[in-house]
Subunit: 268 residues, 3 copies
């Protein structure tokens, strides 16, 4: 399997642009104008406008399933036209292009071997860069040039660290874990910031008690149908985080407003 | 035209995952990791959650327009993690991969020449299979391996019949057909379970009277603009089923709650 | 870069079909049945049903970013099955296929070098053409044949002009420009029909005053963050039209019902 971008490179796209306007298509047109062989795959464009956290979560959840050397072009960009930096990076064996505003926080915080450059070489941008749409004018052409084999260093000077996002981290105490809900998916499953692997290490096989606001229950489930319909349950989500769900129903509909709510896990 | 899958095979994807989460993208990443040449086409991911009937209808409506040997990967999977079987199949000259829960009912019930296997060979799954996302961990890698030419028999033992869906069938009497509405499209057109060809054979050119709840009218139209704006009409939908529509308006908005409602067609 | 369609041609798709039904997928299946090498890119399918103006706007905004010889297949088709003509055309160095109902108005009105034919040769259609879905039965196969190198003239006789759309044009007076809002994007930005280049020529560097219903303010901004959060602003949108926005908020939510509302720009 290729470990460097090539003409038939895979470029994923993530944004908060929705799919109803011309924005996403314009970015794809730009990429194909530079590299007609590129394979374009949408991660999502339905992020809530300017929601960097959800974007960071989806990047971290989907990217590991793509081949090495995949290029991820991600644009959630409330600061477009301001002085916020644009970046291209190599990390986790893949490539990353977008604004330096924390969107890549979860990806970059997991890896040691990380190379980041600041996008400062306009010869890889569109000839005329608008003040409002760098996704099309800066990031798409940079991703396309990356896919053609242009080296990272040619896009601009190295930078030592990208902007962090202030993503909430759970606290692990001897008696309890204090986490919070960081993402709600289409089925109304409530994804927490507690990694399932960390939970397993902490629990050492003991029984678990979960409390999310007024909702309380015991026991870790394996599937969404381990409990009776309508009952709440906790399980290891497919993305690797602990998830609170409701059997055959939407937990988010049953317990609304949970994004950011504290989740407490205790032993016994 | 190829009649067997090959490296540049077409793989369609259908699900109820929506396009806002990482689920669909993760499946695409898995497929491209095994077969970077695969051509990925979305049927839809906007099915109402766990709506097997709508999924079955869309598969049956869209698949015939794809080339022979296309692989259709379909995941509406309320029973994921339970004992429900996964299947791969060859039928109608194409390939089918997904849970064995009725999703392929309309496709499989139309064809005589059908070969189905139960997915039991983990060497074609991801190394670690989660309890909650077989779309990514089982069905996507199986579809990818099919596209690389792996024979059906290698995925598991043959099974004689897939699960049926209890799809409603219309009854044809000498004086009337009793059918029902099985699908509502984006334009609010109400699709019935009466196949247009069967209706023509039954009607023998006689005039027709339609009754759907309080809505009554006479005559079969050819296009959506055959009657005055706002009037109801019946016509042969592009999918081959009789459809109740409203000229330049949404029939579903004018007559809500019609999914599952009885439709009576009589002569005269 | 190729200037003629070829086997690995890019075909974009635009429609008001949504992505929840089988319509879009059926068109893609038809194209790939004729040309399995075609590269399919969605412009959008989320147009409000039968909204020709929004379709025309998105075509005009996105198409220039695609490579020469790209084929744009666009289907917003309230008159399907009536006597409205179907067309294929070459203009702006690209190809255009769809109903002749004004959908290509903005594209065709910009270019001098335009060749249009009426789709009358059924040997390039599907064998059975339905009365309700020419996107699948007529336009998709025509686009596919174009991508395989079939010459325009073979699809039917030349026509001298396509149907116009009655797109509103702004009036430029010595003291004021009278325009209107023609499009609202996902972020609630209000796009006017005043081209930014025309505004610059008219303003000659003088200060500007904007009035949109009760909203009034002075000054042209460069980015969405040039004013305080919640304040209205005007800037050159990335599509080249003057746009009314609201810093870090949705202008459409703050000032609803603006589509079609008059916008007055005066000097001073």
């Amino acid at each position: 399997m290729a470990t460097k971008p090539g003409a038939r490179a895979i470029i994923t796209l993530l944004s908060d642009f929705g799919t109803g306007d011309a924005y996403v298509a314009s970015m794809k047109g730009v990429i194909l104008s530079f590299n007609p062989q590129a394979v374009l795959i949408d991660l999502t464009h339905d992020l809530p406008p300017q929601d960097l956290r959800s974007g960071a979560f989806i990047l971290a959840a989907a990217a590991p399933y793509f081949p090495p050397a995949t290029i991820h072009l991600a644009v959630v960009d409330p600061g477009v036209g301001s002085t916020r930096r644009g970046l291209a990076a190599r990390g986790q064996g893949q490539y990353w292009v977008g604004p330096d505003n924390g969107l890549f926080h979860l990806v970059f915080s997991q890896g040691a071997d990380l190379e980041i450059v600041s996008l400062e070489n306009p010869s890889f941008f569109l000839p005329r860069v608008s003040a409002t749409f760098h996704g099309r004018d800066v990031f798409a052409p940079v991703a396309a040039h990356l896919s053609l084999g242009v080296k990272l260093a040619r896009f601009g000077p190295a930078v030592t660290a990208a902007v962090s996002l202030g993503f909430p981290e759970p606290s692990f105490g001897p008696a309890a874990i204090h986490g919070e809900i960081i993402y709600v998916d289409r089925f109304g499953n409530l994804v927490s910031n507690v990694r399932a692997g960390d939970l397993r290490s902490w629990a050492q096989g003991q029984g678990l008690h979960f409390q999310l606001g007024p909702i309380q229950f015991r026991g870790l489930s394996r599937t969404y149908t381990d409990v009776a319909p309508g009952e709440f349950l906790a399980l290891e989500g497919s993305h690797g985080y602990l998830e609170i769900a409701c059997a055959l129903q939407s937990a988010a509909a049953r317990a609304p407003g949970q994004l950011g709510q504290p989740l407490t896990i205790s032993k016994g």
